[in-house]
């Protein structure tokens, strides 16, 4: 059956490329035609894929790959690269958000079909893949590495789901190869090395904030690893992301920030935004449909949300120049594809905003369970840049911005209670799907100084007890290990599920407090991972021009999609000792102990005697003289 499908997909690709090749100018009809094939390809792909988690990524990949294919065929004749074993792609997706903000997402992907982990064979010739990361991968036997630095919090209720979610602060999760014997040692060294590479405080990752989630973080790439002994996950919610983290990140790109999309990354603009997140994802993937050979994928992403709506001096318009203070002049010469996408799904007739320059090229992709339409600008074509040799995308809002989104899955978290002794963590998870229940995996990693009481754990949905079907709990060890709580909770349709657990705040040693102890301590975001029923499957009016045979039963790969939602990090106050008086405390306590010791010592070693008062000094002197004179002493 699988072989048959693969065969089918090959046929599809052939048909598609033959369709794409002769047409020099793409039309909207053609783009619509493509979707049927796209679906079949992505279906095959997901059938072949190993983990459900990789679903959304896969869909992206498949749509990417297949759009690229149409281009590479046109290019290959002109360029004919000499059997390059690595390739680089860059793209920028711009999505006008409902709230009036602009979401810009850069994605850079480097593929390389080498094997870092092979014994005895040292990879020393690097072309596009950054050498610093390649060496790290081979030295520490890393199977998969995901690292993200985020400044600000992604507001799901206003902005919808991001393409690649990330929690505030730094997040690092790594799957090690199963030949590694000392995983903790490797992890420790790896965090220190990465800390150097990215100029971040990743060296503060140690055993006290590292966990091994049993179910929430499965490998996204090849390999069906399920033994979570080789997984390490840590977050630093306090990490501040700034220019010094961006610069080394940019240096990993083949073109640096000299050419291509990366010229837009000027830190003074990027960090003047509501949300900034940069990430590096490395994983092994299949190189072709049959998965006959393995390739390493390095995916660098940078997501920014600009709040141009309020800072635009009343005018609701934005352009590349306004956002980044740069315009695009060329694609990265090393890139095999370089594109800019603008999401125009909510603007099919141009009534919401006006986009200039207009593009004839349209693309469609199923992203996060929703079919989106994009205007595509191909930077590898000269005509994109027009007469001015510069590409400046301009969008002028016409209508009012839309109403609030209701994402299907949404989670938030807060601390309840007062005083510095106890407290309660509330995690609220919303399922906004009108009629479908689905399970979510909730993962919480709480530092040891908040002592969780698992017997106070309650899960309620619709004011009824909702017993989790799976609970994995690892209690904390003081100064060694954080709490890890993972639960599988079934969310009823259209409901709010509240998870509460009580904790007690510990008094720490005075050296264990941060320099500003009364600011509080951060607790990393909890992670909600779920397969969410798709919006596409939810849609009942199939008015779009699709073939009738495709629309009766909702297609499998679109029926649900994987999503990960991060809640807010918590800021928890702990009781503090007085930092100014360690000497005083040591002296005073020792005094009390000494009073105890002294009084017991006194009573133990001495005996009661009748007090014979000693004669006064004058008498003693007189007696001394009398003794010398040989006269009888005074009494």
């Amino acid at each position: 059956m699988a072989a048959h499908r693969c065969g089918l997909s090959l046929v599809c690709i052939l048909i598609f490329s033959s369709l794409a090749h002769p047409s020099s100018c793409d039309t909207l009809e053609k783009a619509n035609d493509n979707t049927a094939e796209k679906r079949s390809i992505s279906e095959v792909n997901t059938d072949g894929s190993v983990a459900g988690e990789a679903l959304n990524e896969r869909q992206w990949q498949s749509t990417d790959a297949e759009v690229d294919r149409s281009d590479s065929t046109t290019h290959s004749e002109a360029l004919t690269p000499a059997a390059a074993r690595d390739e680089f792609q860059e793209e920028l997706v711009i999505r006008p958000l409902h709230s009036g903000d602009i979401y810009a997402s850069f994605q850079f992907r480097t593929l390389w079909d080498t094997d870092f982990l092979q014994e005895g064979q040292k990879v020393s010739h690097y072309r596009l893949f950054p050498k610093s990361l390649g060496q790290v991968l081979s030295k520490f036997s890393v199977r998969e590495l995901h690292i993200s630095f985020t400044q600000g919090f992604w507001r799901t209720m206003q902005w919808g789901q991001p393409f690649i979610p990330s929690p505030p602060g730094a997040e690092l999760w790594v799957w090690f190869h199963d030949t590694v014997s000392d995983v903790d040692g490797n992890w420790k060294e790896l965090t220190n090395v990465l800390s150097g590479i990215f100029c971040a405080s990743l060296n503060f990752i140690d055993l006290t904030n590292t966990v091994q989630p049993s179910a929430s973080f499965k490998p996204l790439g090849l390999g069906n690893a399920t033994d979570h002994r080789f997984l390490r996950y840590a977050t630093l919610p306090r990490e501040i992301v700034c220019t010094e983290n961006l610069t080394p990140w940019k240096k990993l790109l083949p073109c640096g920030s000299k050419a291509g999309l990366a010229v837009l990354m000027k830190s003074e603009k990027l960090f003047h935004s509501s949300f900034h997140s940069q990430a590096v994802h490395i994983r092994p993937i299949c190189q072709d449909e049959q998965c006959s050979s393995k390739a390493w994928e390095l995916r660098q992403t940078l997501n920014v949300v600009f709040d141009l709506h309020t800072s635009g001096q009343g005018k609701k318009e934005w352009s590349l120049f306004k956002m980044f203070s740069r315009t695009l002049t060329e694609a990265c010469p090393l890139a095999s594809s370089s594109k800019v996408y603008v999401d125009i799904t909510d603007n099919p007739e141009g009534e919401l905003f006006e986009l200039s320059p207009a593009t004839p090229l349209l693309g469609q992709a199923v992203v996060l369970g929703d079919r989106r339409t994009y205007s595509v600008y191909d930077l590898s074509r000269a005509e994109t840049f027009g007469q001015l040799r510069s590409f400046n995308l301009l969008l002028r809002w016409k209508g009012d911005s839309g109403d609030m989104l209701r994402p299907l899955l949404h989670a938030e978290r807060y601390v309840a209670g007062f005083g510095l002794q106890t407290g309660e963590i509330h995690t609220v998870i919303y399922n906004n799907h009108p009629y479908r229940a689905f399970p979510v995996l909730l993962m919480d990693s709480v530092p040891w100084y908040l002592q969780l009481y698992i017997h106070t754990l309650t899960v309620t949905s619709k004011s009824r007890d909702n017993k989790p079907s799976y609970i994995h709990y690892q209690p904390a060890k003081d100064r060694h290990r954080p709490h890890l709580l993972e639960m599988l909770i079934q969310l009823p349709p259209h409901s709010m599920t509240e998870v509460t657990v009580q904790f007690e705040r510990a008094l720490l040693k005075w050296t264990e407090y941060t320099p500003d102890p009364n600011h509080g301590f951060y607790v990393g975001s909890s992670v909600v991972s779920a397969l969410v029923p798709s919006m596409v499957a939810m849609r009942t009016n199939f008015t779009q021009d699709q073939p009738l045979f495709s629309s009766f039963v909702p297609v499998k790969e679109e029926s649900s999609y994987f999503v990960r939602v991060y809640t807010e990090p918590l800021l928890v106050n702990l009781p503090t000792p007085d930092f100014s008086m360690p000497y005083n405390v040591i002296c005073l306590t020792c005094t009390v102990v000494a009073v105890g010791y002294g009084s017991f010592y006194n009573l133990l070693t001495r005996t009661f005697q009748v007090d014979e008062p000693s004669p006064p000094l004058s008498k003693r002197l007189a007696n001394l003289i009398r003794r010398m004179r040989g006269v009888p002493l005074l009494t």
């Binding site: 002592q451 209690p475 100064r479 007085d578 102990v593 105890g596 009573l603 133990l604 007090d611």
Partner: protein, 435 residues
């Protein structure tokens, strides 16, 4: 005498039952003075919950009870309130019977001494009369059962009440002369909270005295009995620990219970001296001071045993008091146990030097604990030093109290041999001093 004791028990149980049903119970069970990380009921429930989840309770740092406690409460967790009330009742009855036995012994010895005319003539007013001694056991039971500290401890369901019951039973068995039961119960008390091992010395001294074996290192009978008692004690300790191993299938509880007691990793405030001291300690002196403070608890055993070798019951009192002052996680339940003995030493009252001051300090501290805790933790208008100051004063008061009783006891003994009204060489009235 049974009727007043029954009445007392009924009153005590009523007070506890009312408090258990009131909204105060939850408030009390959160008080740091009443529960410590070692004996909080919340942590017992947490341990049971972890066991239900299939996680070893000792894999985390919340549960520090011994395996026996898990298995006890595994069966009686629903009747916990009754268990704690029964434990308090047992402690009170055991103390009542022990003091009754002790008083009988004291009176008998006093009679022999009188008959052999060993007391100086002016000491008659120091001697104890049966009339005065009659109500002492009841007073002891009352001091334990109606002490607010005990009531709070019981309402908070602190497992300290159970440890107190074991120690009280141990005292009863010792005073009744059952070396076997005494050894087993002492092993159990040691197993529960390690510190009671210092009670080995007074128990041994008591048995030796009872069997008229002189404490003489060259006598084989002394060694024979000592080894016998030590064998019972160590043997039962080994058996109990082994049993816990078989109950749990691992030795995890050793570091989690005894390591926790000795290394003091949890600095949650309590009424003791450890928490703030080690929160403010310089890291490289930490180990040194932990050793010093822990040795301090055991340090007094040998000198006290030498000094008080004729008075093992008073030695038991001293040891319990020292443990409850200097242990790493003390609670008011520990204080209540040694305070219950105070009526037994009511004849020392005339020699106490500063009982008024000490009582005022202890009362004021007990009232200030919740006030300063509130100011620090909830109101935010005070800081940790306020609460620390009051724990310091409270311990200072306890030390004064214990050393005062020790002084009074020694002084009375001195007067019983040398006469009450001592004269100087020149015939004027003399004052006694320690030299």
């Amino acid at each position: 005498m049974a009727a007043p004791l029954t009445l007392l028990l009924i009153v005590a149980v009523t007070i506890r039952a009312v408090l258990f049903r009131s909204s105060w119970a939850e408030l009390i069970s959160e008080r740091v003075e009443v529960v410590s990380p070692l004996n909080a009921w919340k942590r017992v429930v947490e341990g049971l919950a972890l066991l239900d989840l299939g996680v070893s309770p000792y894999s985390g740092d919340v549960f520090h009870e011994t395996p026996f406690m898990i298995y006890l409460f595994h069966f009686v967790v629903d009747y916990a309130e009754i268990v704690f009330m029964i434990a308090d009742g047992i402690t009170a009855v055991a103390l009542y019977l022990s003091i009754q036995t002790y008083n009988k012994n004291v009176f008998r010895k006093q009679k022999y001494a009188l008959e052999s005319d060993r007391y100086p003539a002016d000491c008659l007013e120091l001697l104890r009369s049966p009339k005065e001694m009659f109500y002492i056991p009841l007073k002891v039971a009352m001091f334990y059962l109606l002490n607010p500290f005990t009531i709070l401890s019981c309402v908070a369901k602190s497992t300290c009440g159970l440890n107190n019951a074991i120690i009280a039973l141990f005292i009863l068995c010792t005073l009744k002369g059952s070396a076997l039961l005494s050894g087993i119960l002492l092993a159990l008390a040691t197993y529960q909270s390690i510190y009671p091992l210092t009670l080995f010395a007074p128990a041994l001294l008591f048995f030796l005295q009872r069997l008229y074996i002189p404490v003489n290192l060259r006598r084989s009978s002394f060694w024979f009995f000592t080894l016998q008692y030590a064998f019972i004690y160590v043997g039962s300790l080994v058996v109990i620990t082994g049993l816990s191993f078989f109950l749990l299938g691992s030795w995890d509880f050793i570091p989690s219970v005894y390591g926790f007691i000795f290394s003091v990793p949890d600095l949650t405030p309590n009424i003791g001296l450890f928490w703030y001291f080690f929160a403010e300690m310089f890291e490289h002196f930490r180990l040194f001071f932990i050793c010093v403070f822990q040795i301090n608890v055991f340090f007094y055993t040998i000198p006290l045993s030498i000094k008080l070798k004729e008075h093992p019951v008073f030695l038991i009192f001293m040891q319990i008091a020292i443990i409850s002052i200097f242990k790493s996680y003390p609670t008011v339940g520990d204080v209540a146990l040694y305070m219950a003995f105070l009526p037994a030493w009511s004849h020392l009252y005339r020699f106490l030097r500063n009982i008024f001051l000490v009582s005022c300090v202890l009362l004021a501290c007990s009232a200030l604990f919740p006030v300063l805790w509130h100011l620090w933790i909830y109101a935010g208008s005070a800081n940790s030093n306020f609460y620390y100051a009051i724990t310091l004063l409270f311990n200072f008061g306890q030390i004064l109290l214990v050393s005062d009783y020790f002084y009074a006891y020694l002084r009375r003994e001195h007067h019983l041999t040398h006469g009450l009204y001592l004269k100087k060489k020149d015939g004027t009235e003399a004052t006694l001093v320690l030299k």
